[in-house]
Subunit: 456 residues, 2 copies
């Protein structure tokens, strides 16, 4: 099979697109999912153009080999893990920003462009591309689109889907399809663009993306608020939105995370607080708004509230959020981040339930997350070599998902499903909807060649 695929690829592609070295293939064969074991790919293809992607798909079709597409490989669910015998198709060489249109505030990019590089490029024109997953410095726009990536500023600016205006897609058949439009509005036909966003490589291979941009906002104002218990923090969050504020960032850091950050990076955190809320506002009334938000926190029982207009001081205040992951990494243990979301008012119940799950299963389970979106990332910290602990971690993982679903939530807030959560998808989606989704997948990929075993 591998020989036949190689033959077919060599017929169609220049040598620099084809990689047969086992070590290199191996390096491109998994994403960053914990527990999910990648298969053994036969070949790595690295196309430099849409035409070369088409050629690669045609070769895989001729050799009857599955295709696993990947961006920068920073995913957390196994969606980019190789399956046995597959052709890994990495889009990292297609990393050109093709156009920045300052009049219409749009850009056209190849999938391999790194999110942070795009942000820098459009900032030179006073423009802003909002989606900011934690992987912003290392993840690609193509991967962001394939997983409908979120981030910290979604609470005000929305997720990746909200910025995708059009796509070029290489279909399983090798045909090239264009979706979307150049205009702000259109009602011609069905919205295939939105269907492909978040489709995790199972409907087609995205080779070009047209994105909406917005005007760069002025620097944000920042507030922090400590709470003794979770309930008042939850009430403050609800009240802030009820009063019509639109924070551009609203993160929560729980006690276990505060303690670990303080242990590794001492910064005078209140390690007895139940949680810390971090909030920012952007826009011309940022300063007034952050003061009002701070007052709401105080009125709802925050034990300490502080707010600043200075963006550099603000940056230092939210630094704690960025230090949580490295602080736990310093323990030298395995880290498995969860990604569930609930309606905003169920947040205290979710957090209390997570604490309960941690205690019952005797696992280390600090929690951070996008409080404004109800999207939490409980972080399972464990010794990957301790089989008994791993078993407890897996139980806790499933229980968190069950808890989120019991609170009208979702099993995957912003990381996607991949292989990691595929077993739970039937617990969330209406069975008829799931059948329809699967039939659409089969319609577009009758041979089941694209990213088999993932997402649906």
């Amino acid at each position: 099979m591998a020989t036949m695929l190689l033959d077919e690829l060599q017929k169609r592609l220049p040598p620099e697109c084809i990689q047969v070295d086992a070590d290199v293939i191996q390096a491109y064969s998994q994403d960053r999912a914990v527990f999910e074991v990648a298969g053994t790919a036969s070949i790595l293809v690295m196309p430099g153009s849409t035409a070369e992607v088409v050629a690669a798909v045609e070769a895989a079709n001729a050799a009857d080999v599955p295709i696993v597409p990947r961006g920068a490989g920073t995913g957390l669910t196994g969606a980019a893990n190789a399956v046995d015998g597959c052709m890994v198709l990495s889009l990292h060489r297609m990393n050109q920003i093709l156009e920045i249109d300052t009049t219409n505030r749009t850009c056209r990019v190849q999938p391999g462009v790194i999110n942070a590089d795009l942000k820098v490029a459009v900032a030179e024109h006073g423009l802003f591309y909002p989606p900011d997953p934690a992987s912003v410095e290392i993840s690609s726009i193509g991967g962001n689109v394939a997983t409908n990536a979120g981030g910290l500023c979604c609470v005000k600016y929305g997720v990746t889907r909200d910025y995708v205006m059009g796509l070029e897609v290489v279909m399983a058949s090798g045909e090239v399809m264009r979706t979307g439009r150049n205009t702000i509005k259109s009602t011609t036909g069905l919205d295939l663009t939105g269907l492909f966003v978040g489709s995790e490589g199972v409907l087609g291979l995205i080779t070009e993306i047209t994105l909406k941009l917005v005007t760069a906002p002025p620097p944000p104002a920042t507030a922090v608020a400590y709470f003794d218990t979770l309930e008042p923090a939850g009430n403050a969050i609800i009240e802030i939105f009820k009063q019509g504020h639109e924070p551009s960032l609203m993160e929560i850091v729980d006690r276990a995370s505060l303690r670990q950050v303080e242990a590794v990076y001492p910064m005078d955190l209140d390690v007895d607080a139940a949680c810390l809320l971090l909030m920012q506002t952007s826009g011309e009334d940022a300063s007034t708004r952050i003061a009002e938000i701070s007052d709401i926190c105080t009125a709802n029982g925050a034990t300490f509230v502080y707010h600043v207009d200075d963006p550099h001081e603000g940056d230092m205040l939210i630094e704690v959020r960025r230090k949580v992951w490295p602080a736990f990494e310093a323990l030298g243990k395995a880290l498995l981040p969860e990604d569930v979301a609930v309606p905003r008012e169920r947040l205290p119940e979710l957090l209390a339930g997570i604490t309960d799950i941690a205690e019952r299963n005797q696992v280390m389970l600090p929690t951070i997350g996008h409080a404004g979106d109800g999207n939490m990332h409980p972080l399972l910290v464990f010794d990957g070599n301790d089989a008994e602990e791993v078993a407890r971690v897996k139980t806790a993982f499933g229980e968190i998902i069950g808890l989120a679903l019991s609170l009208d939530g979702t099993i995957a807030g912003e990381h996607g499903v991949g292989t990691l959560k595929k077993q739970f998808i039937e617990d969330e989606l209406d069975p008829i909807q799931l059948r329809v989704q699967r039939s659409m997948r089969t319609l577009l990929d009758p041979a089941g060649r694209l990213n088999p075993g993932k997402a649906l």
Copy 2:
């Protein structure tokens, strides 16, 4: 066929759901599209619940009769026109607001709820449902969702699709599917919700809608600006967005429209101006912003600029926009509104081209539209009994569509395709995309029973 359908319906539904009176059926057999001739329906069904919609679909399946769904019948493209022998399924009795969730700022509604009624109901909770098609007082949310309706405030707030979080859909099979989520973010599975928005009744029958709401903005500030020629108006529009303003309304009224409004409703308009721009800003910096926008208009050569903070005075200033349609109606002629959109910077070319089309074809063709979105509504005003004039109008109609496409535009900015524009859809959509869209339609409705001949 009609007898068989009646039998099947009577087996499954109470008498108040079934209407066989030819005059009543006729009244529910067309929307407001000009030129598009509706077929003769056999029966009108008016379900009061999802279960009754299911029963009606099962009856139509048993009798092998096509189904034409309709909301309030205010569409402009024939999408709700009956086809011969069909069962018209009107959702107007399903008009309950099921829930308004002030904490999560969402609501759940039945499809027959009138847009303006929903606006009033959520306003009581300090909330705002933005989409505001011109038909806001008479069109239903279900119809708005089926056509992905736009409106005046889209330029800041987006279109209907941006507010739909989830749907309940009765499929062609009679099965009931739930799409979407209760959380702000989710990446579980494919986005079927977005696919159904704007699908004009060809994929399924929408029986419940979960909508996102936003906090009610403070009253807007308003500006008006006259321009002697179109070019500087286009430049002002571009510059306003380039400088990062986000007007909540940006409408254009051309000379022919100004003259007709002034003739019927004298209000001291400058009838020698090439066009009038109407602009509003909302938010706490509305007043500063509207002054800056006014300055941009002046700097770009506006001959007269005026701005006010008072919302009532602002309302009077934009009254001219609302008077255009009634002013032309006063002529006692037929009115055919076009609905094309182009990238914002192509607007002067579009407007100049429309003037040219009007002159060449000797048709009356005033133009108003959503300048901020590049979405124009040229209005063909003609004597429907003059066959020769009708022929010229039809030619002009097609030429406007061709013009929009030549400017990277779309044939349907916010009204949808229906039957009116179906002949042009292949001119806009990539052929592979169109084939995929049609195959998805067939996948969900193999018998072709849902709204046959429409949209795709």
